[in-house]
Amino acid sequence: MISVAGATTIGAFAALAETARAVVAMDSGPMHVAAAVGAPTVGIFALQSDEPDRWAPNGPRVAVVRPTYPCPPGHRKETCPDFACVRGARRRARAGGARRTARRYRRNADALIAYDDFLRVDVRAGTILAVEPLPKARKPAYALAHRLRRGAG
């Protein structure tokens, strides 16, 4: 986990986010950039007055972190005196969240297929006509007679 806060331009950050396993960001422009380029993104909406329902990025690879810190709802980003909620969030906890998010969304991305991929698998239903034991199989098995081969009717 590396911090690139203030170290890149928006364009360079987009390129970096695209290759990142996950991006952890405050509710901010970079959070939206990361989500827009498809990075698994953890958005930290740290203030009680933040509105992730309204402002979190759309998309399937976005996770939202809400605060447990009991700041007064009247504290807004513009006026918060100390951002104690963010300082209180343990670095290790954030890293753990990023790892979990990266794992979850990478797995999902790998598992996603297009409908056409599914259609390549030709699944048919057919009736079993005869069954014989398969004595040479490592696990007990049957040889099934059927009429399921393509073109066999």
Binding site: D122, R124, T127, A137, A141, H146, L148, R149
Partner: protein, 69 residues
Amino acid sequence: MNGARRPQITGRYAAADLIGTQVCAVVNFPPKRIAGFESEVLVLGMDDDAGNVVLVRPTFPGPQRPALY
């Protein structure tokens, strides 16, 4: 004989009980040699807790059906 399926189908299904029932199978794999036998289709099932196969079947058996979608 046309097709076969491996893991532990014998646990829940006696040979005689299978005859005349319907199963679903992938029919466009290349043929594969299994236990001295040319397997042509992959009959679809899922494992139960004991590692026995539970077959995937149409809920209403009928004449051979066209492709799954």
